[in-house]
Symmetry: C2
């Protein structure tokens, strides 16, 4: 088989086949092409063979920067993976429209006791029962050590050995697809982890020109950057092609810098569109970006980057301040109900306003961008994980607020995402954890987190992320779902998800007609209507902890029709078509109106 | 009058009025507004008053970062300029369309013996006679010392004291406008000079996030960047408003970084368009950019930056290799006549190809962008100035090639620019010169230039830029224009400029229909035609030094009509309408055809 590695400035390159499987060590010289790729053909070598490369004089052996598998971790040899050997059973799978997705974010290690891909398969029926249809896996690219969040991966093409490697991931994806569940993967292209990072042994993957919070930026526009661009672009297609993934979530794209006339985003968009035409299915790309920049999801022809979706942090912040009494301390630029209404109706809350936290104006308006371009959440890995105490929303607020939060999320005009355990109010912390082997990596990590906590003035001591107990304590306690409080929350989520998936005014995101109005100073009325204005849905939220909300759901001007209470979080809520009602504190109610004739509407 | 200074993170600010004009020193406390601007009102103070600001505890006095005048240089006090006091005589001036401009780049200090704005006024009749209609002034923003190219200015609002200050510049612009000459100014927003730079004494003008070749980048997107953006945006409008400038050339915009949703380019575009509506005239913005990025001149709605014009370096490089036998050493990615044809027909020569000099693919296609968006030149300040010997084109090639070069430039479908003295083949060097006062600035400069020269492997020792003689020797020797060789070249330029300004197929750039074909392996035929295809212009260039070019100017398929030799650089050129002709070596000829009926054309 053919071995290939990019190292444009090296004088020589040797393929070193590691002894094993009856073969002894072999060293093969490699030859360079015009673009800096070195190649060697090795006979009698296939899946399972282990190897290194030896740059320049060949005295030191280094793993393959594009290794598909590191069976012994980041310092060991790379292993050839025969992707063709896997028997896929998902031939019928055609994917799901992005607007119909309900994401569920999973950390493979902390999701089950075993912490493997295989152990997730046993839980898939629970996902189906819950109603979520898209798993979002935190990064699985090989990192140093046994446990890690995954954002410091160093082999972008290798699937973490302690999770079950390439075979494990394929089996999980296959099993998901057979149950109608899409699988997304979190990938990191803004930096590469420090420990076990061998990329610089091969080529100029990094640049001093731009500084990221995690060190040197990836070199997407400097000398020899074509190879780095290929490395990333090919990686995106690799996950789709070899692992049948439905989409990727690109971590912190605002820390990816490229000033070239044709940027990495232009290249990636073109490559993905070409792949989709070839493969006959979609590959969804979702961005995490700190910029409140609508261009992330606009098409390239209008100066956009063409992402299918974007994590909408502002939705979380605008809502969170109404859930946690201390919320204003972390999000001091949020706090008004008008901002929450804006989050529902426009997307970005900060769309050009001065933001105190940033000491500058921030963002541009996303009004007019259809809701299926935004992913919303009340929690994700970062929100508990970046607190010293790892607290989930479930321990920061009361049950009524948790029900409100779930309703706001699942009745939103955006693609919702739950964080593992959120559906039943899991209370165990989700800490930041790691398993580095080099003292300098750990020292840098601790210092970085200290600075981060200082910004937000969190209370409490942070746990030691290197402590194995911190990882163990972050694991879900799934068995508690039977307890009353948890079972109630789980049921509430199931009902909301069912309503969302079944009701046409909630399901068809790209066609949503929506208006969000502040009512009574502490309430929000989200009003939806069909194109023919015969079907109306009114979601009323009361965010006050102690006051009932007087509200006239008939404000829209619809005079005649049949009102129906579709869903409520509180038994006190009037269940009949009384247009003037009093909504109990911390509650939500959803009413449907079938009008007897089309009305002007709001 | 009101004094104002931006210093968002300072605890206090004092206005210090310097004694003079019968007034004694006064210190006035300033008050801060919400955006970090400090203000103080001082009675009995007007134009000519000198002042400092004293940040924080007031022990140190610092000039105004937005000083309009530094009469004693960068270390002295700032002076109030009463802009309203100047009597303008250009009330009739309405500006010129960008496509009709013929630029002439001037270094005020080296253009005349006196080296002042006033001395340029005496030469304006020569400009009129030559036919150029737009002066492009190298930077005049106050720098440290008496002489400098100007790219290390430190007071972006102050006009260099040794040139004649604000009054001097206004008189020059006024005099130009009265003669129908537009005035453009070179401005630098990618960095601020080191010596005398007081900006950091006031606020976060710079960022560590991005590295430029000249040090820290300007802070256009970090904390408090709104003030930095205002500083630059207001500066652009200031030159138009207070100095009646017609346009600005922005230096090296590829070293300006801004990842915000609304970038400095979006802000600037909007500010300029608003100003234009208010003022009733245009303010042209021209970019220097290394990126071969068509977005620089595309409108913001399509992801562009909306510049009116862009310096087209590729045109120079593609042509230069045919003029200087050693040209290939500096431009090893150029050298084919097809590239020159592409420069004429599309603009960017590198539009996605791998470029050896950059070790990566470079640029995107500019095909389809109308020619009035590009500024072309055979020389500019950088080309001689960044060679150790300061050689102008006139001493690097022969007279025939100079004539060819001038014709290629002035018959191009782009807005042409001459560098001062080019029109008569000035042979004195144009060195890099400076007059720094601090040893560290000089040491950095020398080191930087050494590295730069190493890249291009120039021969010869560089002169000491600090040596006053180097500046003196860079001054034009205008008197030599009478000598035969110079007078001939001057006449050639005049004829070309006249033809360009008068011939409809050369004048109306935005309507140019053009085709550029390689002929005979070392010749170029630039074919233009009118919309009705009745008028045709054929410019034929023979770049060979020793071979006549056999060429059929009738190739376009036009069978009947009246051929006329419009212009030639060589008396051997057949002057009649013989469609098959032999063009002498190193020569150019322009033929016009008035067809007797419309033809399909090429």
């Amino acid at each position: 088989m053919k071995f290939k590695v990019w190292a444009p400035e090296k004088r020589a390159m040797t393929l070193v086949l590691v002894p094993g499987g009856g073969l002894r060590e072999r060293r093969l010289p490699m030859t360079r092409d015009d673009h800096g790729y070195w190649e060697a053909e090795a006979d009698d070598v296939g899946g399972g063979a282990r190897y290194f490369f030896a740059p320049d004089d060949g005295t030191e052996v280094v793993p393959d920067p594009a290794s598909n598998y590191q069976p012994e971790g980041v310092y060991g040899p790379s292993e050839v993976v025969d992707h063709g050997a896997f028997s896929w059973n998902d031939g019928d799978w055609r994917g799901l429209p992005f607007e119909e997705l309900i994401f569920y974010e999973v950390h493979i290690g902390a999701f089950t006791a075993a912490g493997t891909f295989a152990a997730v398969i046993d839980r898939l029926d629970d996902f189906v029962e819950l109603g979520v249809n898209a798993l979002e896996l935190m990064p699985v690219a090989q990192w140093s050590g046994d446990r890690n969040w995954g954002y410091d991966g160093v082999f972008l093409y290798a699937v973490q050995n302690t999770y079950g490697g390439p075979q494990g991931l394929k089996r999980l994806v296959d099993a998901c697809h057979r149950r109608g569940i899409a699988v997304f993967l979190d990938v990191v292209y803004n930096h590469i982890g420090r420990e076990g990072n061998c990329l610089e042994r091969y080529g100029p993957y990094f640049t001093d020109k731009y500084q990221t919070p995690w060190g040197k930026a990836m070199n997407f526009d400097g000398a020899w950057s074509d190879g780095v661009r290929d490395f990333v672009t090919d990686n995106v297609l690799y996950w789709a092609e070899q692992y049948h993934l439905d989409g990727l979530r690109l971590d912190a794209v605002h820390e990816i810098y490229d000033r070239n006339a044709v940027t990495i985003w232009d290249r990636l968009y073109e490559a993905v569109k070409n792949w989709e035409r070839r493969a006959g299915r979609r590959l969804w790309l979702v961005a995490e970006s700190d910029g409140n920049d609508p261009r992330v999801v606009r098409p390239p022809g209008t100066g956009g980057r063409g992402f299918d979706g974007l994590w909408l942090d502002d939705f979380h912040h605008a809502l969170y301040v109404f859930l946690d009494p201390k919320g204003w301390r972390y999000y001091r630029d949020f706090g008004t109900i008008d901002q929450l209404a804006k989050a529902f109706s426009e997307g970005f809350v900060h769309s050009g306003e001065f933001v105190k936290f940033r000491h500058r104006v921030h963002g541009a308006s996303s009004a007019g961008i259809s809701g299926d371009h935004f992913v919303v959440f009340n929690q994700n890995h970062d929100l508990p994980g970046n607190r010293p105490g790892g607290e989930r929303l479930s321990v920061l607020t009361d049950v009524a607020s948790l029900r409100l939060a779930a309703a706001a999320l699942l009745l939103s005009p955006y693609v919702p995402m739950l964080f593992m355990g959120e559906e039943y109010g899991e209370e165990t912390p989700f800490y930041f954890f790691s398993d580095y082997r080099e003292p300098e990596t750990t020292a840098r990590l601790i210092e970085g987190r200290k600075q981060q906590f200082a910004v937000f003035e969190f209370e409490g001591e942070a746990r030691d992320p290197q402590d194995a107990a911190v990882f163990e304590q972050s694991k879900l306690r799934w068995e508690r779902r039977q307890e009353r409080r948890h079972a109630m929350l789980l049921d509430w989520h199931r009902r909301l998800i069912r309503l969302r998936r079944e009701h046409p005014l909630l399901r068809d995101l790209s066609k949503v007609r929506l208006r969000a109005d502040v009512v009574g100073g502490h309430g929000l009325m989200i009003y939806r209507y069909s194109a023919d204005r015969l079907l109306h849905l009114v979601c009323v939220f009361n965010f006050s902890a102690d006051t009932s909300l007087p509200v006239d759901i008939g404000y829209a001007g619809v005079q005649q029709g049949e009102w129906r209470l579709v869903l409520t979080s509180d038994e006190q809520t009037p269940d009949q078509g009384d247009k003037a009602l009093r909504l109990p504190p911390r509650s939500v109610a959803v009413y449907e109106l079938r009008a007897s004739f089309a009305d002007d509407g709001p």
